[in-house]
Amino acid sequence: MQRARAPETRGGPGRPPGRRELLAGAGAAAGLLLLGCRGEPVDVRDQAAIAAGGSRGYGGPAVELAFWTGFTGGDRLPMERLIERFNREHDNITVRMSVTRWGDFYQKMPAAVESGHGPDVAVMHADQLATAAVHRTILPLDEVTEALGLGAGDFSDTLWSAGVFRGRRYGVPLDVHPLGLYYNRAVLAGAGLGDAALPRSRRDYLAILEQLKQRGVQGSWVSPALFTGGLMFQSLLWQEGGQLFSEDGVRATFDAEAGVEALGFMLELIQRGYSPRDVGQDADSIAFTNDRNAFIWNGIWMINIYRATPGLKWAVAPVPTIGAQRAVWANAHHLVLARQPSAGERRLQASVVFLDWLSRHSLEWAEAGMVPARREARESAAFQRMTEQAIFAEQLPVVRFPPAIAGIDAVRASTLDLAVNEAVLLRATPRAALRRAAREADALLAANLRKFARAL
């Protein structure tokens, strides 16, 4: 057995790495991670200009478009049917829809776009457009809509202006989903009240609830959660002539007298015994389907759910006018184009073809339990035959959207929604709860203004 002793040299070839070098290597690897990988900055306006070419159709090679939505409920199937039809009618464009819960959608989408793996076309809520716009997640669509010849006349003024942020358009409205008054016909009939006695005003509403109370029914459950208490509060606030935030996004204004009045009315329903205390999340709706609640201020998205509830006799009406003017909370789904990595730019024209087609076929989309945004679809005989949706659509002239302010949705959720919750659960007076929330919202708004000013 041959035995030799290797000289103790340092730095010779084939030497195992020293401790320092190992550390340096690890440091470099970590450094690379810290830098992250940022894509090439692309100007969203350049992409918007390319996209506008899609108004003349798309004649290029076959492309596949990624279409992202949050349609996880009864709205999924109608959209899938529409996409199937689009794919049949277009040889060189194939659209694939991916569905994510709305709850996760707005976290996933900007991250995906940032990393270059985002969708081509997506659906977003009206109150999320501003945030997505400052994050450069979506493209400004002024040139696209101009090339397509779309304008306020094709929709409605309120709907059309909801897609605008800082003077630029970011979304094309697909539908609008307002709040409405659902009523349980079995409960009303049991109390000797017919459909004719539908409440229109504050006085009617309280009178009917009083009659129901005599029969031992608590007729209008007030929920402390955003769905549905928070939406009810916002509707009432607008009816009282109030606003959620100042237009410039500097101050929260929901704690003004109108807000106190609005929340006061909700508490009145509880204090008079028309609603139980401590209503849990969704309990208002469960009670409604169990014939223990007569009225619920709920969104249009409940149509298909109540329709599928066996034995439930229900109908809808416009929300009653409790305050000085008619107004009702609404949100809208908008079609948006996502910012693309440079390799995706060739798909932009095809994306516009799809966006335009979908917008023009939004009547079929009404089957998902929505009010289509296109005027022609809303005025068609086919839509008027959709009884419930048509009733919701009557409210279109008075629907209100949250203002287009970047980050507004998160500010509202962490301040106003908590205040409504506190007040409805009788843990604080409306005035105190709203004031505290408004001061906190002011601080958040100021921070947001500073932060998003960087994105100009």
Partner: protein, 332 residues
């Protein structure tokens, strides 16, 4: 594989290239220079793990610290350096995050204080019962463990429907037997805490029980026999044989339960929505809201580190409590 220890070569002896006695997989390592310069062999074996550990644990920790020093919104073109502002905000009056963060911390501490004692003692009693042999023992073990395999979303949804103040099963049944049926299990303090702790105990009790059972089976029967011969009562057996034997297991259970409770998120998020108001909003919940709903990742990261530091201190306190007294087998 236990053959990874490189055979020691005495100093002054050289080694055979690829010697026949070399352990499998070590062949290439040997013959690269003398034994004494092979200090790096263990590190080489650790490399695969360390690479993963570095990539998925150390690097994120470093990146998190980096993020917490900026006003970090990943989707804006720039994230300015703010130094320790995000940390200072947690102590500066007038900043919106201060009140919310400490309220969330209080909620988390309260939940931990309420749930840990129950989750440490109840499973121990259960394990003692299930350690005895009786017919159907396996069935009961399975029953108590069963809820643990469910996801938090399933558990929370079921309990929300059970606990609902007006349309829930629990209040309905209470009303049936003439007890007050209007308790706001998911909407009113203190009942929300009772609900959250109760459902968490039901959900995770089985896990601690199984760990205790394993610990109990590691205590030698001879010690019990010896103690019995010495005339120990059942209580003395438990006090002087079982408990000391379980000491490391109890410590493990306490620590894991404290960490688990301090990171509670799903139950509050899904059952109470953090309500009433922000009463049951836990730290993790608030951090998630700040980071992923408001895109204030710098502030969220800073809060995570403060939370982690506090947890580390709590854990340190527990270690000192368990081992600080020297681990002597003193009876009293």
């Amino acid at each position: 594989m236990s053959a990874v220890d490189v055979p020691l070569v005495e100093p002054g002896q050289a080694e055979v290239d690829g010697g026949a006695q070399s352990a499998p997989g070590v062949g290439q390592l040997r013959g690269r220079g003398p034994a004494r310069s092979r200090w790096w062999a263990p590190y080489l074996f650790l490399t695969p793990y360390l690479a993963l550990f570095g990539l998925f644990v150390l690097a994120p920790i470093a990146l998190g610290v980096w993020i917490s020093l900026h006003d970090w919104d990943p989707f804006l073109p720039s994230s300015p350096w703010v130094g320790l502002d995000n940390y200072a905000d947690l102590f500066r009056s007038g900043s919106p995050s201060r009140g919310n963060f400490w309220r969330a911390l209080r909620a988390t501490a309260l939940f931990t204080a309420l749930s840990v004692p129950v989750l440490v003692t109840l499973p121990l009693l259960l394990a003692l019962a299930l350690d005895r042999s009786f017919p159907g023992r396996s069935l009961f073990r399975a029953l108590f463990f069963a809820p643990y395999v469910l996801g938090v979303a399933v558990v929370a949804l079921v309990w929300r429907l059970l606990l609902d103040p007006h349309v829930g099963v629990i209040n309905h049944l209470l009303g049936k037997v003439g007890l007050p049926a209007g308790t706001g299990w998911t909407t009113a303090v203190p009942w929300v805490w009772v609900s959250l702790v109760g459902m968490t105990v039901w959900w995770t009790l089985g896990y601690n029980t199984v760990i205790y059972l394993a610990g109990l089976q590691n205590i030698h029967r001879e010690i019990y026999d010896a103690a019995r011969i010495d005339g120990a009562t059942r209580w003395q057996l438990f006090r002087h044989v079982t408990l000391p034997g379980l000491r490391p297991v109890v410590m493990f259970v306490v620590m894991m339960t404290v960490l688990g409770s301090a990171n509670m998120f799903g139950q509050a998020y899904l059952v109470t929505g953090g309500g009433p108001g922000s009463e049951t909003r836990t730290v993790i919940m608030y951090i998630a809201e700040e980071g992923f709903r408001s895109f204030r990742l710098g502030a969220a990261a800073a809060m995570s580190y403060v939370h982690a530091l506090l947890l580390a201190l709590v854990n340190l306190g527990m270690v000192l409590l368990f081992f600080g007294r020297g681990g002597d087998e003193e009876a009293r």
